[in-house]
């Protein structure tokens, strides 16, 4: 079946709501409006206003309420409309959801999923174009997933609900219109995945950067450089085995990250390669990240600020100089 990334997300939501009465969806405009990006469209009619629950503009309040509802025996899916607004409830995520199990000596589980859209590329300017996946990946006690494919957009939500930990699911509006075949394979939220086999360099990417990495690999192949593309998929805990296996094979790597370069998740990947595969490298690992600037509105400047296939191509070629 060929569906879009958006439809895959919706299908995942519908299945989760249908499968378990404890699951409910809460967030701003998830119901009557149908979701800002129309992801939850139709679900209000199907499941009613208790289980597809519109919340007022109060991100701290309803994320915290989601945590409480999880403690109270439900399995909430909280939608924070975009990552840009997720700084408002960050305290609840870091200081309650992430630590409660440990701090209570293992007594309390928080089986919660928080979904949010993330990333730039739609000319929404500085306050609506953040990529904070890397920030969240810094926090012990939560898991972070970044679906880049149709199968992951569909399947990661269910896996996240089954996980028993608070899981943050990052969705990429830049991918919402992409279409592809939905397979019947179950997805896990434990492993990175090689999306394209290659021998001469490894490109590590996640989320909306994955298709960019694949496009770059196509171009490189045309120029005779056979690059492998690893989709991280899970940003915490990192599956370094898959990354390192690829790097040890190719001996060269470029990390692509839509976050600002300094302190982005790409730095952690580089540091781990340094720590664990230093002697396997034929060249220093390179990074392609967001420029260190608030994203400007005009298209040419936004494009210049973000990772692009050409920049990835250039970075890979740079590994051979």
């Amino acid at each position: 079946m060929t569906i879009t990334y958006r439809e895959a997300l919706r299908m995942g939501l519908r299945e989760a709501l249908a499968r378990d009465q404890r699951v409910f969806l809460v967030g701003e405009d998830v119901g009557r409006y149908g979701g800002t990006y129309a992801v939850s469209k139709g679900l209000l009619d199907e499941f009613g206003p208790e289980r597809v629950r519109d919340a007022p503009l109060s991100e701290l309040g309803f994320v915290g309420a989601g945590i409480g509802a999880a403690l109270g025996g439900l399995k909430p899916i909280v939608e924070v409309m975009t990552v840009n607004f997720s700084l408002l409830p960050l305290d609840q995520i870091v200081n309650t959801a992430a630590i409660l199990r440990h701090m209570s000596g293992g007594q309390f589980a928080v089986p919660l999923v928080i979904r949010m859209s993330t990333g730039a590329g739609r000319q929404l300017a500085a306050q609506h174009s953040h990529s904070f996946e890397g920030w969240y990946a810094h926090v012990p006690g939560i898991k972070i997933v970044a679906p880049a494919t149709i199968d992951d957009a569909h399947g990661m939500l269910g896996a996240a609900l089954d996980d028993g930990n608070p899981v943050l699911v990052f969705e990429y509006p830049a991918l919402f219109e992409t279409a592809g075949e939905l397979s019947s394979a179950r997805v896990d939220i434990a492993h990175a995945q090689v999306r394209r086999q290659g021998t001469r360099a490894t490109i590590v990417a996640y989320g909306a950067s994955v298709p960019k990495a694949l496009a770059a690999a196509d171009q490189l192949a045309a120029e005779g450089i056979n690059a492998e593309v690893v989709d991280l998929r899970v940003l915490r805990p990192l599956d370094m085995d898959t990354v390192l296996a690829s790097v040890r094979k190719t001996r060269r790597a470029v990390i692509v990250d839509e976050g600002w370069r300094s302190g982005s998740l790409s730095a952690e990947i580089v540091a781990r390669i340094m720590e664990q595969a230093f002697y396997d490298l034929d060249a220093p690992v390179a990074r392609v990240c967001r420029e260190e600037v608030p994203i400007p509105y005009p298209r040419h400047l936004e494009e210049a600020a973000l990772p692009q296939p050409e920049k990835i191509v250039a970075a890979v070629k740079g590994l051979f100089q």
């Binding site: 800002t36 007022p56 503009l57 929404l124 300017a125 420029e291 260190e292 040419h300």
Partner: protein
């Protein structure tokens, strides 16, 4: 909270004729500018999010006429009208919408982020509630510096559910700051009707609980909006913060992406009978302050201004990519 519109604003307009025409013309300037923006959005000249103020023009028009040049204004992503009437030139607004470097934010902000230091227009904020604490700080600065300067802060009724509203009201009241909280209650926050967003839909009761003077104003009536804002300004400069609920309605979708599943067409149509421009026009005509010719003349002037603004924006240039990281830090 009833979503049913009250009867259209009517009765005599108590202003000198020239003032009335200025108000009318300013409402038209917002309306025509935004109609043009919608058209340009369709044509792909304007991108990103675009939130139109159409239907709500009486609020910004009445309020800005009540403010002094030296007053500060903080607004939201639905701020084209506020920027224009606070004194940001239309051509620079239009260039900003295009993303051109002659834009009022150098093209970097677009529709949601209009700024103008000279006009004391502090934006343009795409984080709901994000401007409220700023307004408190601007008010604090004016007070500590001994300036006679109001800070007017515009926000939607949806923003009142945010913690930022609560903290800002409390701080402004505690510190007795010259801040006017201008709530534009258009009954919806995206698709969320006020009764699903506020447990207390009487917004003035809510605001008064901070020990702040609060009153409602008919936001479809530019006369009431002007008088309400004027009263608020005097009060805020004398005694500290004031809250005004401008009861209004947006005629268009929330943004250009909104399928409007959440409200009836009939409700929209009913509110349109209270449209701030045509009702004000009718009242001025009724009292002999306006003829159809004069109206058409004003409208033509406005259309010409819009035309010039678009031409300016079209002719303006793009910021060079080399300047991408300029202004991230002080030089």
């Amino acid at each position: 909270m009833s979503h049913v519109a009250a009867p259209p604003p009517s009765g005599p307009v108590p202003f000198a004729r020239e003032n009335s025409l200025k108000l009318l013309k300013d409402m038209l300037r917002i309306r025509r500018m935004e109609e043009k923006c919608a058209e340009l959005y369709g044509a792909g000249r304007i991108r990103g999010f675009l939130h139109l103020y159409i239907g709500e023009e009486a609020v910004a028009t009445g309020a800005m006429h009540a403010l002094a040049r030296g007053d500060n204004v903080v607004a939201t992503y639905r701020e084209h009208g506020h920027a224009l009437l606070k004194g940001v030139p239309m051509d620079r607004i239009m260039a900003e919408m295009f993303g051109k470097k002659e834009g009022c934010s150098r093209g970097r902000g677009g529709s949601m982020h209009l700024f103008d230091a000279a006009a004391r227009f502090y934006g343009g904020n795409a984080i709901v509630g994000g401007g409220l604490p700023l307004a408190v700080g601007l008010g604090l600065a004016a007070k500590m510096r001994g300036e006679e300067r109001l800070t007017a802060c515009f926000f939607g009724e949806g923003a009142m559910a945010e913690g930022a509203f609560h903290e800002s009201m409390n701080l402004a009241a505690l510190w007795k700051l010259p801040v006017a909280f201008f709530c534009e209650n258009n009954l919806y926050a995206m698709g969320t009707a006020i009764e699903r967003s506020e447990s207390q839909t009487d917004l003035c009761t809510k605001a008064a609980s901070y020990g702040v003077e609060a009153f409602p104003v008919d936001g479809m009536d530019v006369v009431a909006a002007y008088e309400g804002a004027k009263r608020a300004r005097a009060k805020a400069l004398a005694d500290g913060p004031v809250f005004v609920e401008f009861r209004t309605y947006r005629f268009r979708a929330h943004s250009m992406f909104d399928p409007e599943l959440y409200r009836d067409k009939a409700e929209v149509e009913q509110w349109k009978t209270r449209g701030p421009i045509h009702t004000f026009t009718a009242r001025l005509k009724a009292q002999g302050d306006l003829t159809e010719e004069r109206f058409l003349e004003l409208d033509a002037q406005v259309e010409a201004e819009v035309g010039r603004a678009v031409a300016f924006a079209e002719a303006a240039g793009w910021e060079p990519v080399e300047d991408l990281t300029r202004d991230v830090y002080a030089p």
